[in-house]
Amino acid sequence: MDFHYSKQHLTPGEARLQRRLEILPGAVSWASLVTLVLLSIFLPFTAAIFIVAFYLCWLLRLLYMTLFLVLSTIRLDIEKKTDWRTRIAGIDALTAHNGQTPPASKDILHLVIFPVVKEGADIIGPALEAVARQNFPTRQIMVIFALEERAESTVKQDVSAVTQKYAAHFKDCFTVMHPSGIPGEAKVKGANVTWAAKAAAERLRQNNIPFEHVIVSCFDADTVVDQNYFACLTCHFMVEPDRLRASFQPIPVFHNNIWHVPGFARVIETGSSFCQLVEATNPEKLVTFSSHSMSFQALVEVGYWPVDMISDDSAIFWKCYIHYGGKYRVVPMYTTVSMDVASSDTWWRTVKSVYKQKRRWAWGVENFPLVMRGFLRSKEIPLYQKIRHGFKLFEGHLSWATWAFILSIIGWLPVVFARKEFAASVVYYNIPEIANTIFNLGFLCLAICIVLSMALLPKANVRFSRLKKAGLALEWLLVPVSMVFLSALPALDAQTRLMMGRYLEFWVTDKRRTPPPP
């Protein structure tokens, strides 16, 4: 379907619809919170019933997610041991025998794009080294540094130095400078990588490399891929029947600087990894997130990444989904890509950095109005799929912005604001008892998360004592606070900005690989 996935250049009718849909998530989140607060004050019995129903729903959802988190973690552990090269060889042999697709693995080319704006050699060096040390022929990998023209000269020098150092490893390794101020573009990563992808397309055409044999991986500059990443990706690409209409989503972990960031940041980012592990068990509703890979042909056909959106990582999935009339999917891959935890030189700056990063992630809500407009226009996407995806997208952002507030603060308001009549009811005494029981059960899930988080930590880097590990476990007790201030609040902030039409600008996350000075 020919759908212009952008909020620009709309007809007046589309612009009105776009604006109304932009208002909707924030308005519903605020209405939910304010209604609950007002109910707690003026109709505490009604509020109490809702809150208990909500607590139970939260507990069951938590148990459900924990169950699939455990299963997903087990699968990740199992698939780590997979010999992807042997599997690829097997598929090659099979396809050679019956002469059918997929392409032979030797014909598959990996195009890797690293967008760079302020990352130095300490960030991009390890990222490129991880690509160079793949358990896969690196001569089948083409690396592009998508460098912003506005980047400082030291960054440009670093990119040049790193490129020279590793160029020999790859089929090709070069830098594409993205000019600033191109009309219609915002200062976003999508514009930079799109510019680079277009340059790559030109080079592929010159070299007569068919796009359907090219897998593009768009990585954040700090992404350090697992050594089996490209083997795993190649295998998944080969076995996926509709490989040209699929994205491939690895599990993001945030281990690059995990030991050098404050506890709250560690907990928050581990929580993000857990979310992706849980999401990976549900490919039908999986949406691309952060660093991922996809068919280059699909990328070209849909017109590359949006050049005016911050959340290009999820937007590209929705763009493809609408373009192909719902016949596009995300294939989960149980291999990891490691990134940096947002970090800065002081504790407070790290808090601000994490907050801004989460707000940027939550700005993914900007996809909602576009997706809804696309769904309304599309006659090819089945209604059931529209409702299912639309509901998940909307509910996901709503719960992100509201649940932590309800659990940590609003749930207690009926008791705090209790007047005589409510204070003289059994409800007043029973709510805390029920809440305590539910939260105690919730702590079971938290305990499981603690165990899993310890299991997921990068073992090679562990040089800390058991006492330090115990401290890491205790950091999880910060979850109630960090969920409110570094997850729900930035999400509500993002939704409110979208609601008010105060659009967010791209903000490059601070990253540090060394511990902050004492």
Binding site: A53, L60, T281, N282, A418, N430
Partner: protein, 463 residues
């Protein structure tokens, strides 16, 4: 995995569909009985002072000691006994209503023997209470300033200071009277020195109390001296029917800020005057912006507690016909303790508005008094202590129709007593020896568990 997700999802959905209504019904107090199906139940919340009391309901001990919540009680009366070793068991039939909670908040247990302590080995004839931190008592042995002792009611030790040093210029002066203000640490002492009346403003907060002669600021004998509890600068004097403001720091007089005044009150940076026709006028400290006012009920109660001359006006406003002797606001919002010669009642003005013509609701909880002279809220408004014709009596506020009246001590018929909930101690002069003594009425400072909003308000009020 997607199939497993679906299966587990529908299982969880079914669990939610079943458990959620049951949980909500449980929260509302419904339990399932084998024969009758769902039964509406109530609960009793018990907290006691002293804590960790054993609670026995209908002959069965509760699992936890107080504070505790006893749930799933069928509507009707239930026998509750609260028991701590060394205290008289508290026993009552407590009514329980379906879906309702009956709160037995801070049930004050009466010790088998009251813990008393004699603080001095000399006899006194005067006992006047002062607020402050710590609160203090003025006790007098005789009629001269040399006989006045200031007792600071510290947590454990009561320090004894003579009010004036031995070399004081007021040595030998006769004490003619005191002016005090509720909740204020300051007082004015009226002395007669060389046949001349003198009025000394005393700030007892320092180790050696500071006295300042304000006689020259007064034009003749004042009927009333009053000030805002924490204001150490402005004193208002009712002289005849005229109100003057005295600035004791700059030693200035601002005369005639109000005329034709029968009684005087100060509250919230405003001066209140009771007019001969019973109306109340208020103005600012400079006598400006005079307005006839109908104060809000709570303000009227504060005025009446500050100055009993306002009592009749307060009673008239509240539509209460009783001939009240005193009133004191409670910590709890919209509640006041009111007493007459024979009755003690609780005034609940939560429904009363400033324009409301309906009489306020007074629940008379004690009617057999003979000559009730003083009454205090005790144990965060859960009990009442009163001085009635030589007896100190303790009463429960909530008695479920079964009043519990306990005699605490005997005092002289006219002897003032002082009780402070900060320490839970009652100070009095023993009738035989006239020595200053205390009785520990409340064993522990009570904690107010419910409702939280009210307890926040109490903290605010205490602040």
């Amino acid at each position: 995995m997607p199939l497993l997700r679906k299966v587990v999802f529908y299982i969880f959905l079914a669990v939610y569909g079943v458990v959620c209504p049951l949980l909500i019904l449980r929260m509302l107090g419904f339990v399932v009985a084998p024969r009758t199906g769902f039964v509406k139940t109530g609960l009793i919340y018990v907290s006691a002072n002293p804590p960790n009391a054993r609670v026995i309901i209908d002959g069965v001990a509760a699992h936890e000691t107080a504070p505790t919540v006893i749930r799933d009680l069928t509507p009707g009366e239930h026998d509750i006994t609260i028991n701590v070793q060394g205290y008289v068991p508290w026993h009552k039939k407590v009514p329980v209503t379906g879906n309702k909670a009956t709160a037995l908040d801070n049930v004050l247990l009466v010790p088998a023997a009251w813990k008393t302590r004699t603080l001095t080995d000399t006899d006194f004839n005067t006992l006047i209470a002062l607020a402050g931190n710590p609160p203090s008592l003025i006790v007098g042995r005789g009629n001269t300033v040399d006989d006045i002792v200031l007792m600071r009611l510290n947590k454990n030790i009561e320090e004894e200071d003579t009010l004036f040093p031995a070399q004081s210029i007021y040595k030998g002066a006769r004490v003619a009277g005191y002016f005090t203000v509720d909740k204020s640490p300051f007082f004015v002492i009226h002395i007669v020195d060389d046949n001349k009346d003198k009025y000394l403003w005393v700030d007892p907060r320092e180790k050696q109390p500071r006295a300042e002669d304000i006689t020259e600021l007064l034009i003749g004998e004042p009927k009333q001296l009053i000030w805002e509890a924490s204001d150490e600068k402005n004193v208002f004097a009712l002289q005849g029917t005229t109100v003057n403001r005295l600035n004791i720091k700059s030693r200035a007089i601002y005369p005639g800020i109000m005329e034709n005044t029968q009684a005087l009150g100060v509250m919230g940076n405003a001066v209140f005057g009771l007019m001969p026709d019973g109306s109340i006028i208020h103005c600012d400290y400079d006598g400006q912006n005079k307005k006839t006012t109908v104060p809000q009920t709570k303000d009227l109660i504060v005025l009446a507690a500050q100055n009993p001359d306002f009592l009749s006006a307060a009673m008239r406003h509240l539509g209460i016909t009783a001939d009240a002797r005193g009133i004191t606001p409670g910590h709890e919002r919209s509640l006041a303790l009111i007493w007459t010669k024979n009755h003690v009642g609780i005034l609940d003005y939560s429904q009363q508005t400033s324009t409301d013509e309906r009489p306020a609701s007074v629940q008379w909880i004690y009617s057999r008094g003979q000559n009730i002279a003083q009454a205090f809220w005790v144990n965060n408004d859960n009990n009442i202590l009163m001085r009635d014709n030589g007896n100190i009596l303790l009463l429960d506020k909530e008695n479920f129709g079964q009043p519990r009246l306990t005699q605490v001590a005997e005092v002289d018929g006219e002897g003032m007593v002082y009780y402070t909930d900060k320490t839970g101690q009652l100070y009095y002069l023993t009738p035989a020896t006239r020595r200053l003594s205390w009785i520990q009425i409340v064993p522990h400072k009570p904690f107010i568990p419910t409702p939280i909003a009210d307890s926040l308000l109490i903290k605010e009020l205490e602040h």
